[in-house]
C-alpha cells in the first residue's frame, strides 16, 4: 500500500479509491504531492476523479479495448522495456504452430468446443524443444497431453488456484527466440492480436476520445522504464464481469511490457472490500480450493493420490509449485494427524470430491430445486449483497433450516416476514417452512485473531472485552459445533464418519475457556513432527516434507509463527521503520511485501536505476539483499544456470524472477490457466446496448450462463427488443456504507450520513426521461423493478458510441428491504441476473441493461406485472442472451449452464 507513494504515475481503473478505500488513498495523494500523475478511468466522476490529474469516463465493460489499445501503442512505438521484456517475460517463447487467434477465427481462439461451450487449451501450449520424436505423455510439445479441458477446469473454478502462482506446466524445456522475430513468438502473436485495437476503436467502443487516449498512453509510457514506474489500481469494477479475469490480465500485459512488475511504485494493486477477504481466499471458505490454493480434488481427475499430486505440481517444472506434494501432505497431517500415514496416502480419501461447479450461485439454484437442506450465513447478507436478490430470497425460503450468525437482524434473517416477496404476495410467512436460528456474533474487539488485508499482510487484533450476552466468535461456535457433531457420531461404525472422528479437534482453551486462536494460528503455520525439532514451529514452507515429518494447515502462511512468535502481532511503530515496514504484521509468503521483487534488479542483479533500487545481488556476501525480503533463492547468483530440464526451485536460472511460474517468466501469453483465451480479447457484457465492434462473437463464448425463467436477459446490440432496456446501469459503493449494509445500516452515525437509496443520472438523461432531482425514479431490468431517489449530476457523462448516445445509471447497492435496519430501501442487486466469468465463477454486476422512468414503482402484484410487461415487450425468452456462440448462423448454440 505504502509503496504506491513510490509511483511516478498511477492509473486507477475499476475503482473509486478515494471513496471506497479512503485511508489507502493517502498514498496516492502522497505520490501526487511528489509529482506523480494520477489518472482515473471510471464511468462516473467521483472524489477519486476530483483529486486526479485527469478523469476519463468509460463505458462500463469496455476496459479490454482501452488497455488493448495501450498494448498496441506500446508495441507500435517500441516503448516497451526491451531488456526486461526479453529476459523476464515469455515474449521470446515460441507457441505451438497450431495456435489460432481470435483475429483468424472471428472472435474465437483455437480449441473452442461448441458442444461444451468451452475451450480445450492444448493448442495454446508452448512449442516444445523435444522435436517430433518425443511423444511422451506430459510434454508441452504433445498438444493433447496434460491439458485438462476448459469445461472441467471452469467447473472447479480453477482460476482461483492461481492466487499464489501460475498453473503447472509439464516441464521447463521451451524454445525461445530472443530477437523476438519468429512469427510464433509470444511477442509477434501479441502484435497481431492487438492490431485492430486502435485509438479510433477505443473512441467507438469505450466512448473515449483520441486525445484522452493519447494523454493516457503518453503518461503511462513516459513514466515507465529504468528510472520510473507506473502502478495500476483496481477493485471490483474489473472483477465483476463475465470477462473479469481477462481485464486484469490485460493490465498485467501492459505492466510486464513496461517492466513495472516486481518493482517499487509498480505492479497492479487489487483493492479488496472486506477486512479479511484476502485471508478467506488464502484459507478459503471457497468450494474449489483447500488452504494455500491447493485444488479440491475432482471426481474423475483426482481419484487417487498419485493423480492428485501429479496434477497440482510437477517435479519437472521450474519454481516452488514443484513442491506442491509437501504442502498437500503437511495439510493432511494437520487435519488428520496420526491417522494420516504414507500407507493410506495421508488420508487423501477423506477429502470430499467436486463433480462440477458448486459456487454460491449454483448452490442457490440447487436450493431452489430443493437439494440443499441447511445453510449457514456467517457475516454475509445474500438477500441484499448477492446478484439477483429475488432468487436468493426465494432459494432460502426452500431450505429446511438456516443459521444466521451476525451482529444485527439482516434482511437474510428476516426475509420470511418482511422481504419484498412477502409484500408482492409471491411468498407468505406461513408458507415458508424454513426453520431459522439467529445466533449473535462477537465483534473484532471481543475476540483475538488475524485479518489478512488486501496486500497479503496478516495483522492480529487483540481481544479487548468479553462478548456480550449470547454473542460468540466463529471460533467458539464452530469449535463447539464440531465437538457436538463428533459427540453425536461418537459410536458410529460407519466409514463415512471417520474423517470427522479422526479429525484433529483439540485446541487448548484460553483464559476464558474458549479455543485459543493462537493455537489455531500455530497449526496453520505448521510444525516439525519428528526428529530433534519435533513440536517446534516451521520457519518457512521450504521446510515442509512429503514424508509426514511435518504438518501445516496453510503452507503460504508458514513463517507467521516462526520460533513460536506470533508475527501477525508484530507492531514496531511505522515511524521507527522504513516505508516497507517489515516489522509491522507479517505478509505471505515469507513476509515479502512486493512479490517477484527479483525483477527490481537487472539480469546481472544490479538495480535498474538508483532511483528504483529495491532488491539487488550483493557480490561480496553472495546473497540477495535490499529493502524487502528477496523473492528469490537467497544465495542463487544472477549468473546461475541450471542443467537443462531441471525442475523445481533448482530449475530456476539466476535471472528467472517469476519464481512461482512454471517457466520462471512473466506471462504475456498464458499457455495454460485462463479458460477463455491465452490473451485478453474484447467481448461485450452479457447485457449490452452495443454490438461487439471487433468480432461477430458478441460476448465471452466461454462465460457461464443459466437459461432459466427466473433469470431473463435484455436483448443486446441490434437485436430486436434491445431498445426496451436502452440504458447501462452499474453498481458501486459509498464511503459511509459497507457492502450489503450488515455492518453499517444498523449504525445511526453511518445511516445518518447516507440515509437513502439513490440513483445517479446525467442532466441529459434526466431531461430525456423527465426525472427530477430529489424525486423518485423506477429502474427496470429484465429481472426486477426497484425505486430510488433521483440525483441529477454532471458526474454522469453520456458517452457517444458510434454516433449513438449511451446513458449510464449509477446505483449504490447498500440498501435492502427489511424491518430492522436504521435505514432501508430497495436493493440495487435485485436488478442483476446471474451470468459468470468462467475462470472464477464471479457474476457480472458492473454492467447491465435497464430502463428508467419517473415516479415510484408499483407495489404488490402490480410490480410483478410491470416486470412481466417489459419482458414481453422486449421479447425476452430463456434463450435471450444465453447463446454462447453468436453471429455464426451455421453453428448450433449451446446453452447449458455451468
Amino acid at each position: 500500500m505504502q509503496d504506491l507513494s513510490n509511483a511516478d504515475c498511477i492509473v486507477i481503473q475499476g475503482s473509486n479509491m478515494a471513496e471506497c478505500h479512503p485511508v489507502a488513498y493517502q498514498w496516492v495523494t502522497e505520490a501526487r504531492l511528489k509529482g506523480a500523475k494520477v489518472i482515473h478511468i471510471d464511468p462516473r466522476f467521483t472524489r477519486t476523479s476530483a483529486t486526479a490529474d485527469k478523469h476519463i469516463p468509460i463505458r462500463a465493460g469496455s476496459d479490454v479495448v482501452l488497455l488493448g489499445a495501450l498494448i498496441k501503442f506500446i508495441l507500435d512505438n517500441e516503448l516497451y522495456f526491451k531488456e526486461y521484456v526479453v529476459a523476464y517475460t515469455n515474449a521470446a517463447t515460441l507457441v505451438n504452430e497450431d495456435f489460432q487467434d481470435t483475429e483468424d477465427l472471428d472472435g474465437l481462439f483455437s480449441g473452442y468446443d461448441d458442444e461444451l461451450g468451452s475451450y480445450a487449451p492444448d493448442t495454446w501450449a508452448y512449442a516444445s524443444s523435444d522435436g517430433e520424436g518425443d511423444e511422451s505423455p506430459g510434454t508441452i510439445g504433445g498438444p493433447a497431453a496434460g491439458h485438462e479441458h476448459g469445461q472441467s477446469q471452469s467447473e472447479r473454478s480453477a482460476g482461483d488456484q492461481h492466487g499464489s502462482g501460475g498453473p503447472a506446466l509439464e516441464h521447463a524445456r521451451v524454445l525461445r527466440d530472443e530477437t523476438l522475430q519468429d512469427p510464433n513468438t509470444v511477442f509477434q502473436i501479441l502484435k497481431r492480436h492487438y492490431a485492430r485495437y486502435t485509438p479510433e476503436m477505443v473512441a467507438d467502443t469505450c466512448g473515449i476520445n483520441v486525445d484522452d487516449f493519447n494523454y493516457l498512453a503518453k503518461a503511462v509510457t513516459e513514466n515507465s522504464g529504468r528510472e520510473r514506474t507506473t502502478a495500476f489500481v483496481y477493485a471490483v469494477g474489473w472483477t465483476q464481469h463475465t470477462l473479469g479475469a481477462q481485464f486484469i490480465r490485460t493490465a498485467a500485459i501492459v505492466q510486464l511490457l513496461l517492466g513495472n512488475m516486481g518493482r517499487p511504485g509498480g505492479g497492479i494493486m487489487a483493492l479488496r472490500g472486506h477486512a479479511s477477504i484476502q485471508g478467506s481466499t488464502d484459507i478459503p471458505t471457497l468450494y474449489n480450493i483447500l488452504p494455500g490454493y491447493l485444488a479440491m480434488p475432482v471426481a474423475g481427475l483426482h481419484d487417487t493420490w498419485e493423480d492428485y499430486v501429479g496434477a497440482i505440481g510437477n517435479k519437472e517444472q521450474k519454481g516452488f509449485w514443484a513442491n506442491a506434494d509437501t504442502y498437500a501432505v503437511s495439510l493432511l497431517k494437520a487435519w488428520w494427524g496420526k491417522a494420516a500415514t504414507a500407507e493410506n496416502d495421508w488420508r487423501f480419501d477423506y477429502l470430499p470430491r467436486l463433480s462440477g461447479a458448486h459456487g454460491t450461485y449454483q448452490t442457490t439454484m440447487a436450493m431452489l430445486d430443493g437439494e440443499v437442506e441447511g445453510y449457514f450465513l456467517l457475516g454475509q447478507n445474500p438477500a441484499v449483497g448477492s446478484a439477483h436478490g429475488r432468487m436468493q430470497r426465494q432459494a432460502m425460503a426452500k431450505l429446511k433450516w438456516l443459521v444466521v450468525r451476525d451482529f444485527n437482524m439482516i434482511e437474510s434473517a428476516t426475509f420470511w416476514k418482511d422481504g419484498p416477496e412477502i409484500a408482492s404476495g409471491e411468498l407468505t410467512t406461513e408458507g415458508i417452512e424454513t426453520e431459522v436460528f439467529f445466533l449473535p456474533a462477537a465483534a473484532h474487539t471481543e475476540k483475538s485473531g488475524s485479518f489478512t488485508q488486501t496486500q497479503r499482510m496478516l495483522q492480529w487484533h487483540h481481544q479487548a472485552v468479553q462478548p456480550p450476552g449470547d454473542c460468540q466468535s466463529e471460533l467458539q461456535f464452530f469449535f463447539e459445533l464440531g465437538r457436538r457433531v463428533r459427540e453425536l457420531l461418537a459410536d458410529s461404525t460407519d466409514e463415512r464418519d471417520r474423517p470427522l472422528l479422526d479429525l484433529t479437534w483439540d485446541y487448548p482453551a484460553d483464559e476464558n475457556g474458549d479455543p485459543d486462536a493462537e493455537a489455531v494460528l500455530a497449526e496453520i503455520n505448521g510444525r516439525h513432527l519428528t526428529g530433534d525439532k519435533a513440536g517446534q514451529p516451521l520457519s518457512a514452507y521450504t521446510e515442509m516434507k512429503a514424508d509426514g515429518s511435518t504438518d501445516g494447515g496453510c503452507w503460504i502462511y508458514t513463517g507467521v509463527y516462526a520460533d513460536g512468535v506470533n508475527h501477525a502481532a508484530d507492531r514496531k511503530p511505522g515511524q521507527e521503520q522504513d516505508l516497507t515496514a517489515l516489522e509491522w504484521g507479517w505478509a505471505w509468503p515469507a513476509n515479502r511485501r512486493i512479490l517477484y521483487n527479483r525483477a527490481s534488479a537487472d539480469p546481472e542483479g544490479k538495480p535498474w536505476s538508483e532511483r528504483k533500487k529495491y532488491i539487488w545481488w550483493d557480490e561480496e556476501q553472495g546473497r540477495w539483499t535490499g529493502h524487502d525480503v528477496p523473492d528469490f533463492v537467497p544465495d542463487k547468483a544472477p549468473s546461475y544456470r541450471p542443467e537443462p530440464g531441471t525442475g523445481g526451485a533448482a530449475g530456476l536460472a539466476g535471472d528467472d524472477p517469476f519464481v512461482m511460474q512454471a517457466d520462471g517468466k512473466g506471462w504475456l501469453f498464458a499457455p495454460k490457466g485462463m479458460l477463455d483465451g491465452p490473451l485478453p480479447t474484447h467481448y461485450e457484457p452479457q447485457e449490452s446496448p452495443v454490438r461487439n465492434p471487433l468480432y461477430a462473437q458478441q460476448s465471452n463464448p466461454a462465460r457461464k450462463v443459466f437459461p432459466r425463467k427466473d433469470n431473463l436477459w435484455s436483448p443486446s446490440g441490434d437485436e430486436p427488443g434491445a431498445d426496451v432496456y436502452p440504458f447501462v446501469f452499474t453498481t458501486y459503493r459509498l464511503t459511509e456504507h459497507h457492502t450489503a449494509g450488515g455492518m453499517s445500516r444498523w449504525l445511526p452515525y453511518l445511516s445518518e450520513l447516507q440515509p437513502e437509496f439513490f440513483c445517479e443520472v446525467s442532466p441529459e438523461l434526466a431531461a430525456e426521461r423527465g426525472l427530477e432531482n430529489g424525486g423518485w425514479a423506477t429502474i427496470v431490468s429484465g429481472r426486477a423493478a426497484i425505486e430510488a431517489r433521483v440525483m441529477v449530476t454532471e458526474r454522469m457523462t453520456p458517452l457517444v458510441i458510434r454516433g449513438r448516445t449511451i446513458h449510464q445509471v449509477g446505483l449504490p447497492y447498500h440498501w435492502g428491504v427489511g424491518g430492522n435496519a436504521v435505514v432501508s430501501g430497495d436493493a440495487a442487486n435485485d436488478l442483476l441476473g446471474v451470468a459468470l466469468d468462467p475462470n472464477v465463477q464471479i457474476q457480472e454486476s458492473k454492467a447491465g441493461s435497464c430502463d428508467i422512468v419517473p415516479g415510484r414503482r408499483p407495489t404488490g402484484e402490480a410490480l410483478l406485472r410491470l416486470v412481466a410487461e417489459y419482458q414481453s415487450r422486449a421479447g425476452s425468452t430463456v434463450m435471450t442472451g444465453n447463446e454462447l456462440r453468436t453471429g455464426h448462423p451455421e453453428s448450433t448454440p449451446d446453452t447449458r449452464g455451468g
Binding site: E373, G374, T429, R571
Partner: protein
Amino acid sequence: MDPKKTLLSWPVVRQLRSGDFLGRGPSVTSARTRGLEPRTSTADKVVQSVCPYCAVGCGQRVFVKDGRVVQIEGDPDSPVSRGRLCPKGSASEQLVNNPGRQRKALYRRPGGADWEPIELSTAVEMIAQRFVESRRRTWQDHDEHGRPLRRTMGIASLGGATLDNEENYLIKKLFTAAGAIQIENQARI
C-alpha cells in the same frame, strides 16, 4: 461583574495571549469544557486492533474502561494508515456498542410468524442434530461411474470475508471433514 473575569479574559485578549489566533483552541474553552476529560485518557487499557470493515487494514486503538469499549481511534503507529480512519472505521465503536445490536439467540419455527427466544446451548445442540441428519439424508458415496465422492450436497455455507483467518480455518476444516463442499464467501462475489 465576576471578579475572576478581568480584562485579560476578554476573548480577543485571550486569543492573543494564548497564541490561538484562529479561536479554535484554549481561548474558547468554558468552565465546563475545561472540566471535560477525553474518554481516551481515563481508559483502563488500550488494545491494538484492526478495522473490521475494508481490506485496507487500518490500525485501531481500542480504549476499554470497566470491561467496556469506550472509544476506538486510529493507531498512529500503523505504517499503512498512520492513525487515520475513514467514517466506517471511525464508527466502529458504535458497531460494538450499538443498543440495537442483537445480543440474544432467537428461533423461528417452520411457518412461524415471529421470533421466539431460545437458550444458546439448546440452539447449538439443535443445529448439530440437524447437521448430522441432513448430512446422513443427502450423503453421496460415489458418482454414477463408481468414483468416490464422499460428500453431502445438503449443507452449504456463505461467509468468511469478515472473519478471522483462524475462524475460516476451522470452518473449512470442519465442513471438509463432514463432506460439505458448498462453502463460499464474498470473494466469489
